[in-house]
Amino acid sequence: MARIIVVTSGKGGVGKTTTSAAIAMGLAKRGHKTAVIDFDVGLRNLDLIMGCERRVVYDFINVINGEASLNQALIRDKHCDQLYILPASQTRDKDALSQEGVGKVLEELSKDFQYVVCDSPAGIERGAHLAMYYADDAFVVTNPEVSSVRDSDRMLGLLASKSRRAERNEEPIKEYLLLSRYSPERVKIGDMLSVNDVQDILSLHLLGVIPESKSVLTASNSGVPVILDEKSDAGQAYADIVARYLGEERPHRFIDEKKGLFGKLFGGK
């Protein structure tokens, strides 16, 4: 049985797709057979970030409608043979996804995969609801600013009340906080909420902090999940996150300001 992870946020543009690509790759690289599904019907950009946009033949909706089998639609990643991508359709509208349809696809994937990562669209409407409905774990991606935190809180309320686990009175979805696009410098000048501020408001288990990093854009432009850029800070942050998710202890990084040469010479202890 696969573990189903939803990457969700409420607010748009906070880094869900970046995160989905990175953690799916991270889990697969550690030998766990993983599928990552793009729930953002109509927009489709997971395949761009995974660098497989030119190999899309069938998509998620074709599978739901029975126009293609899962095996026909799944694209094997070119960097890691344990990773498969199920792309979204660019041409259909969102209503093409149905709850039963999604359930069937996830059930079929569960037989064969260890992890299924669901990249949720923004918002709290139908698409986001379908992405989280069957989840076992939720990665709540939040940026350190008030509106993003508020939307995450809203999403947490829905995870606790509108998921299949909630409806069946089962053990609730496990919720994890991923604080993304974090910039200690901007926290210091009061431009951004700090890790503590966010945790105080959300009271949620922090899985990791991902720094604001140029490497994310570089990675997505070249269609390679940032976690494969092992030298980059964001890549390392995602590697830590995957390790912690799998039960390893790793100290948190990227929370404190990097000390420049000046800081090292004069400010450091």
């Binding site: 508020r150 809180d153 009340s161």
Partner: protein, 247 residues
């Protein structure tokens, strides 16, 4: 006769009855004029559309029956359903009403386990309680919540409401009785929502967006001077909200 034990086992575990307590608002009907009822319901819904949308309710018809006001129960149910409410029970009905209710698939609730709270007209109710020290906790059962109440969530309790986790900004908690929050209160808290002037709010860290007792409210702007991270209680005194350290 042979039975496959494997087979019987799966059949035996297909369903399970669990006992659960739910909090459901009670709609007390005191007129038999369906137009007036409809009118007033629409007005209420406008105040809190999300709260009432698809909200289950229990209908209390004790008062109209006591005053011998006949009502077409089927039509009444239709009015409520059209307004988006979902009647899931009748209370204080007579024989005929109960029969119609059952035919409509609406269960009958007994009047005894939860006393009907007299619904007061907020505007013109004189201050019946002179001293602020009458601790009128309504004797309905308390509702206990141990999970965080997140933004966008609403909780309504007919008695007291006790919350062990935080109440987020953008959440709304309401009780006909007192409200206790043993954590940070950032959302909106409304106690004594049926007009109980003796209701109180207790919380261990007051950062609320709005607090209200029996319709008298204060918004966060009025609470700027409140010290955070300190347990406080809030009560009504001569139509004014008093916020006081419990220490």
């Amino acid at each position: 006769m042979t039975t496959d034990p494997q087979n019987t086992l799966t059949k035996a575990t297909a369903i399970e009855f669990k006992s659960n307590t739910f909090t459901v608002p009670v709609l007390v009907i005191s007129s038999n004029d369906l137009d007036v009822i409809n009118d007033q319901i629409q007005k209420k819904i406008q105040i809190a559309p999300d709260f009432f949308k698809n909200s289950p309710i229990v209908l209390d018809v004790q008062s109209i029956n006591k005053n011998n006001l006949p009502i077409d129960f089927t039509k009444l149910t239709n009015v409520l359903r059209e307004a988006g409410l979902l009647p899931i029970g009748i209370r204080g009905g007579n024989g005929l009403q109960n029969k119609i209710a059952i035919d409509l698939g609406i269960p009958i609730h007994s009047v005894h386990n939860s006393p009907v709270i007299e619904k007061k007209n907020l505007e013109d109710s004189p201050p019946k309680i002179k001293s602020s020290h009458s601790e009128t906790a309504l004797n309905t059962q308390a509702t206990l919540i141990s999970q965080p109440v997140r933004s966008g969530q609403r909780i309504y309790a007919t008695g007291d409401l006790i919350i062990l986790a935080q109440v987020s900004a953008g959440a709304e908690i309401m009780a006909e009785g007192n409200i206790h929050v043993y954590n940070t209160l950032r959302g909106r808290a409304l106690a004594g929502v049926q007009g109980n002037l003796g209701a109180r709010i207790f919380c261990s860290d007051l950062q609320a967006e709005l607090i209200s007792i029996a319709g008298t409210y204060q918004i966060s702007e009025d609470m700027r001077g409140i010290v955070r991270n300190k347990p406080v209680q809030i009560y009504l005194q001569e139509h004014t909200l008093i916020i006081k350290d419990t220490a």
